[in-house]
């Protein structure tokens, strides 16, 4: 029978703070795996790894970002192990892609912002986010919802910082087009 482990105050605080992120981690896991059972496994594995590596975490740095990095790492490894057919995004090709300019303002009195805020229903927004290609969806979510820095996101997704910014840009504009397209259809 192993001896009961004495837990320092710091260890207790670390665990509590780590577990506080579980909802955010689960939401991201769900987006990455598209399956609740897989998402739970992914989150559980993430915590197991995190607690095993607890002494490698530098106090004072962003614990949430650290956990998200482990989660994304684990998800990538699993996807590789399963030899899934996933479409890999070629970052440079994405950046080179020719884009159509966004629609200009139709009514000078309204801003795109006011139109979207007024007219977009929550389920519509959620659906539009879910419909984005994974690379862009992750970048936008990690920035605008989870509020990580570009550097943190770069580490999580294992891409250069410039790519993080261009994916956020592209993702946001794709969302804008998607949401406006719906409005134009409804009009």
């Amino acid at each position: 029978m192993p001896e009961p482990v004495k837990r320092t105050a710091r260890a207790v605080a670390f665990e509590a703070e780590a577990l506080a992120a579980i909802d955010s981690l689960y939401r991201t896991a769900l987006r990455l795996t598209r399956d609740p059972a897989d998402a739970e496994d992914l989150v559980q594995d993430t915590y197991l790894k995190a607690f095993r590596a607890a002494d490698r975490f530098e106090p004072g740095t962003n614990l949430r970002a650290w956990l998200f990095t482990i989660l994304h790492n684990t998800a990538r490894n699993r996807a590789r192990d399963r030899a899934r057919e996933s479409v890999a995004i070629d970052s440079e090709a994405v950046d080179r892609a020719v884009e159509a300019p966004p629609p200009g303002l139709r009514d000078a009195a309204e801003t795109p912002e006011s139109i979207l805020l007024r007219d977009t229903m929550d389920p519509e927004l959620q659906a539009a986010v879910d419909a984005l290609p994974e690379a862009f969806r992750e970048a936008v979510w990690l920035r605008d919802v989870e509020e990580f820095t570009y550097a943190e996101i770069a580490q999580m997704l294992e891409i250069p910082i410039g790519t993080v910014m261009s994916r956020i840009s592209r993702g946001r504009r794709m969302l804008f087009d998607a949401l406006n397209h719906v409005k134009l259809q409804e009009a």
């Binding site: 665990e15 579980i22 594995d45 915590y47 607890a54 303002l105 927004l125 410039g162 946001r172």
Partner: protein
């Protein structure tokens, strides 16, 4: 306009307020005289603000309570066993052992090769041909078909699920004693609905036990398509155990199953 191209890398940090004052003024200056870029920046900003405004709705989904409890336990598991690669007990661990698609590609190739052999009764030909067919079934079922069953099903429940076999296979009652967890049973793809395919995980590795009625075959262990296939007969039935595990594991498990069904 070449300036618009130059603006590209700065749009997102501009919208996010991450640019220093000097750079921000440059961008402002460009936007004043470039309506298309101005629209584009406005669109990006609008989406960012919309997402931030609706964060509560977007964060509606929460982790299930049981997951939270299991993750709390993860800390104790990590402390107790810091270097193990084992994982905690999971719900329906179906995806973990799903074989990579390349195994199925191999199986598909072999289906083409041994296609002609499917015509005869499964046990009429050589044991090796029979085992090749069963290995293909093993690979197909673990690799592709996602059995909608949980882990650790009770044997009597599983036996009920293959009632159309026309005969009654007995399964070992306490498979966990030998490190086996029963996933379920199905009718073997070959053998014309008469052969039972019992699917197990043995210490986490896929293992199939096929049961064929009214036959007898000499006892042997063959190496077929990268798998071990152990054949034996008892009580008028032939059993074939198929796995990728080493022979030692195979022999131990065979002994267990033989004893359990005596």
């Amino acid at each position: 306009m070449s300036n618009c191209k130059k603006l590209e890398p700065f749009v997102t940090p501009y919208v996010d307020g991450e640019l220093d004052a000097a750079r921000r003024s440059e961008v402002d200056a460009h936007l004043c005289q470039c309506p298309p870029c101005d629209s584009r920046v406005a669109a990006e900003r609008a989406v960012r603000h919309l997402i931030q405004a609706r964060k509560v709705a977007l964060e509606r989904i929460c982790a299930p309570r049981e997951l939270r409890a299991r993750c709390s336990q993860a800390r104790s598991a990590a402390v107790a066993d810091p270097h193990a690669t084992g994982t905690l007990k999971r719900r329906a661990a179906l995806a973990r052992w799903r074989l990579p698609l390349r195994s199925f590609a191999l199986a598909a190739t072999l289906v083409l090769i041994v296609g002609g052999a499917f015509v005869h009764e499964l046990t009429d030909g050589s044991s090796r041909v029979m085992c090749a067919e069963l290995v293909v079934d093993h690979l197909k079922c673990f690799g592709i078909i996602n059995p909608v069953i949980g882990t650790n099903d009770r044997p009597e429940v599983v036996e009920g699920s293959i009632a159309s076999l026309g005969w009654h296979p007995r399964l070992p009652e306490r498979p966990e004693q030998a490190g086996l967890s029963l996933l379920g049973a199905r009718l073997c793809l070959y053998g014309k609905g008469r052969v039972a395919h019992i699917m197990y995980l043995h210490n986490g590795h896929p293992m199939s036990v096929f049961m064929l009625p009214k036959t007898a075959k000499p006892e042997e262990v063959l190496d077929v398509m990268g798998h071990e296939a152990a054949i034996w007969s008892a009580g008028g039935r032939t059993f074939v155990l198929i796995t990728r595990e080493p022979r030692r594991e195979v022999e131990q498990t065979v002994s267990y199953v033989q004893a359990a069904l005596r």
